[in-house]
Point group: C2
Chain length 353, copies 2
């Protein structure tokens, strides 16, 4: 019953903890049940669920014995003493958290609150390090880059034990991060290489975060001011021909484009191919922004013309933002700024008046 | 000199205020100058800049008279009394702030800090209301929806007076919000329907925010887990044929798509056209998420099949998220969840092993 919506909602409305017991734990109360049932035992492995659970939670007097309605059964025990250590375990919670690209001031209060309430932090080590003091005193389990599937399975199974687990991602956890993989694993049965039945019943919360693309855009000015798309150039999981198909579509649609995973040690040709495809559809002097280590002391931002985009200037952590044919690079007091106008010019200049 | 990078940087490094004076204010000190210059007067309208500025700021003794290097001139006055009211005016600052889609816990600390330090808040009234207590005690100037150009011009000109002004946008200020328009106005000369020369010299800071699209995605699960694009369906500023061209490109590229401004009172046909274009390229049961009033008490989320997307269910504040051909809708304990797998299935199922 760990994921029974009605009980979850009832506990939330009443503002009380929702505790879970195994059949064996409930069966340990068998001698104290007022209404033991062999039928229930045959079905779930203990002679009483409601009375057993109430008695397992509180050592006291059964003041309301097993009471049925069409949909639910309940029993109430009056504890002899205040309940300090809660028996059973909680449902388990997995928070999928995007902490933003680097600087603390871009991490949302919701993300910080979910980290703060978690008992265990799971993630790529650098991202957990970026949490600074917020991570102190918590169990942390670092996984290497590339260990995404192990990381998500581990986090789900730890939550399945009743723990409050935070899966720490950089940027927005739903944009090329662990979010989709967690749901992909939850969408598989335990017999289809999915996670355990217990893991299927944990509470899963996603919280949005500032993505690297937005951090880069804020530094640039407003390059995402009009329609844009986001493409990962990693062919590790996506067939190369699908990526090229998307590049051509993005070029034809004249979208502003943000590339994630533009290169890796092994893989350096797709970015050059992307540049060449785009050059067929937009001007050679289209502005390109390269942004590294956003929000960290070593932050580094450069602007290039599209035809002068060199793959060797880009590493795997660089965000590459390519303007549409309308994007502009301008010089302001504090340096170059890139923006993509939305079309107000036609209004300002009177074409639409 | 309001936007002179070297002086701006020097003030920042020294951690001291940077104050500006008009030529007339400097000329008021003419009788106290040790080194008045007719050449300087002919050029900038006052007989001394460095000595004049030092004397205008502090009523005291000129302890270092006009001293030149190749690039700069300075003078120092020792104030007779502590300086409490700073003469002149500051450079003026315009912060372009995205406050997220609604709930406070999605507003970044940087956005909150920039609002807190601002003297004047400019924006669409509802967005300023969403700031709650953070807006109390500040001057606020509400502009109507549709008054975007006036809003940005006003904010820039107020900053040009030396004020610290916050332009309040919902979501991310750089994504279809005021960001690009501010830079578009700054990129025009004062004789090209741009803003005043003084406004060109203000400090402009952009800060990223959680966009409505990300708030919606977090509620859904992880629909943006793979390549996506963002398209505004408003043909107010963008020619309809450009929008249709982008829709076709997005369909051909099999992107997950987020629509902003899906409909307005006047304009209701493009969303249906978009649906019909997409149906030619992805399955009829492709999941679609409709999300309204994200992060507010009246938040409302629905899921539909692409072929059952009805325009009448959508209003101008609805975020419409359309899955790619790979996006999935699954039932978890707390309800439906939508995600777009990144391709781990090929790894999990062994195709890539």
């Amino acid at each position: 019953k760990g994921d029974e919506p009605a009980i979850i909602e009832t506990a939330a409305r009443l503002g009380v903890p929702y505790r879970l017991f195994t059949a064996a734990e409930l069966e340990a109360q068998v001698d104290r049940l007022v209404n033991p049932s062999d039928v229930v035992f045959a079905e779930v492995g203990c002679h009483g669920v409601s009375e057993g659970a109430a008695l397992a939670l509180a050592d006291g007097e059964l003041v309301v014995e097993k009471t049925k309605t069409a949909n639910a059964t309940c029993a109430v025990v009056r504890a002899a003493d205040p309940i300090v250590d809660m028996a059973g375990r909680s449902r388990g919670k997995l928070s999928i958290i995007g902490i933003g690209p680097g600087q603390h001031s871009w991490r949302t209060p919701e993300a910080s609150a979910l980290v703060a309430e978690a008992e265990e932090l799971v993630g790529y080590g650098l991202y957990i390090d970026l949490l600074g003091a917020l991570a102190y005193g918590k169990k942390r389990v670092d996984f290497p880059l590339g260990g995404e599937e192990d990381r998500c399975r581990y986090a789900l199974e730890q939550a399945a034990k009743g723990k409050n687990v935070a899966l720490i991602c950089s940027g927005d956890a739903g944009i090329y991060a662990m979010g989709a993989l967690v749901f992909e694993l939850l969408d598989r049965g335990s017999d289809q290489m999915g996670v355990s039945d217990a893991a299927h019943r944990v509470e899963v919360v996603s919280t949005p975060g500032v993505s690297a693309l937005q951090g880069a855009a804020a530094r640039a000015g407003a390059p995402l001011g009009h329609d844009f798309c986001v493409i990962s150039l990693s062919d590790l999981l996506t067939p190369r021909e699908d990526i090229v198909k998307r590049l051509i579509a993005a070029a034809q649609g004249d979208f502003v484009i943000a590339f994630y995973n533009p290169v890796s040690m092994r893989r350096r040709t797709l970015l050059a191919e992307a540049r060449d495809i785009l050059l067929k559809h937009r001007p050679a002097d289209t502005p390109v922004m390269l942004a590294s280590s956003l929000g960290r002391p070593e932050e580094h931002v450069r602007y290039r013309r599209l035809d002068e985009l060199e793959v060797d200037e880009v590493d795997m952590l660089t965000v590459v933002l390519i303007g549409s044919s309308n994007s502009k690079l301008t010089q302001l007091g504090e340096g170059p700024r890139m923006y993509t106008p939305r079309g107000y010019a036609r209004k300002i200049d009177g074409d639409l008046s």
